[in-house]
Amino acid sequence: MNGATSTRRLSGWLLAAPALGLLALAFLWPMLTLARMSLNETSDTGAMIEAWSLSTYARLAADSFNWRLTLDSLSLSAFAATTAVILGYPMALFLFRTRSRFRTLLTIMAVAPLLVSGTARVIGWLAILGDHGLINSVLISVGLPTVPLINNLAGVRIGLTESVMPYTILALLAGFGRLDARLEEAAATLGARPMRAFWRVTFPLTIPAVSAGWLLAFALSISAFITPHLMGGGRVFVLATEIYDAATQTLDWPAAAALSIYALVLLLILMAAHAAVTRRLTP
């Protein structure tokens, strides 16, 4: 290591300093504050008490509601991720293979929903799934009873699935991009018909992409707030909505902070578990 290298390094750090400074100010410091807040306590009257204790965590852990909450969040996210992958896979496959001249346009259409804010999409769903919305209007017109699809779990499931679909499609497309088209051709020359070639050769090779897409959708679903809050009508409880309520309604900041830290740790554990499982299953 000579003088030239160390001046290079120094100039590098100077260049990165403003960005790192902003990061420290806007991200690191708040995260530390959050962690610190989780160690405070709440009195019975709801006032915050400065402390260095784990009693808030204990309080939350003792409440069985929070365990139900965790389970519901996990199952909802798993549903959304799985359905998004199932619906997204044919779309990604189609986009990848099609020779249509609308290919670029169709790909943009599949990803465009990301441009639209989550709130806007909820409005659309409310109009489709609402009591006077599209689906129920059709049901009424043929004389069938209406189905409640908003302000409940069903609505949140549908909305959440749709909101993560663009992400799964992107992840799957990225994975397909790494496929070698000649492998299916090789299978064909060995006598496999298209369906079999697909299931025996192509599909297994896309499993890593499917897995990555699923994980992405799952992580996004667990953190999702807008869709459960707006489409659940106050009746669907997930981690995100609880954190929000604790922070802005009951103003129990220590609890909100502790739940946030809990959610982050949960995410970490899930990612680690996924990585371990993937490593086990990859040939």
Partner: protein, 261 residues
């Protein structure tokens, strides 16, 4: 290999699920009715007119635009030098990971953390507070886009310029900057859009005196009474598309993406 009919059918179903809410919102925005019923009773532009006349929403729109411009500028000023350092490997590899960290966390948690941090200083519902809040999620995008643009293009070109006698500053002005410009524009556009559409973090940091357009939309949807929300949503999307189209017109995104590759 072409796609079979089964795949095509399933893909169509997928598209239906994916795009129906967007189509419905678009149609609702021109509904003549007073409720979120679908199909709409008739068509009219009354809700767009109502939007234009709503002072609160207009001020929120103004705030969002100004905020987005401010945040974009700051992110570019801080992000470009950092991206240069990263792309030329003048800082260790983990720096880019650290700068990307905010993208890994739920915006809800980030918003909450910022609320707890800024409230004791009275910075909630203030411009500095909101700028800081948006920077958190915008800066990582800006850095990543510019790093990839710089990496793809100019490594040995800067060296070539040096061997042809260009001192570092001249090489930067004549070679690096012009070649990085498409990447900078792509980053700026992305920064503007991310900030303009940012909902959840802003939710924690706005107040009656200072709010943003996405938050206004959010609160209106909570009470969900009329198609005004649809008109507002469509306007938001239209602005986003407008920005992209404008930049594409000026620079050409296909060229930008081609360059970045």
């Amino acid at each position: 290999m072409s796609t079979g009919p089964v795949v095509r059918l399933m893909a169509v179903c997928g598209y239906l699920v994916l795009l129906s809410p967007l189509a419905v919102v678009a149609l609702l925005s021109v509904s003549s009715g007073a409720f979120l019923t679908f199909p709409p009773p008739g068509f009219s532009l009354r809700w767009f007119t109502a939007l234009a006349g709503n002072a609160d929403i207009l001020s929120a729109a103004r705030n969002s635009a100004v905020l987005a411009v401010l945040v974009t500028l700051i992110a570019l000023l801080a992000g470009f030098p950092a991206a240069t350092a990263i792309a030329r490997e003048r800082v260790p590899g983990w720096v880019v990971l650290l700068l990307s960290a905010p993208l890994l966390l739920p915006t809800l948690v980030i918003g909450l953390a910022l609320l707890m941090t800024l409230q004791p200083y009275g910075l909630v519902a203030t411009w500095p507070g909101l700028v800081l809040a948006h920077i958190v999620v915008v800066l990582p995008f800006v850095v990543r886009v510019m790093v990839s643009a710089l990496q793809a293009l100019t490594a040995d070109m800067e060296e070539a310029a040096a061997t042809l006698g260009a001192a570092p500053l001249r090489a930067f002005l004549r070679i690096t900057l012009p070649l990085a410009m498409p990447g900078v524009l792509a980053a700026a556009t992305l920064a503007f859009l991310v900030s303009f559409d940012e909902t959840v973090i802003s939710l924690f940091l706005v107040g009656p005196r200072l709010t943003t357009l996405p938050v206004a939309l959010f609160h209106y949807t909570e009470s969900r009474t009329d198609p005004l929300v649809a008109a507002l949503a469509v306007s938001l999307v239209a602005i986003s598309i407008g920005v992209i189209a404008l930049v594409d017109r000026l620079v050409g995104f296909t060229r930008t993406v081609g360059h970045v590759e």
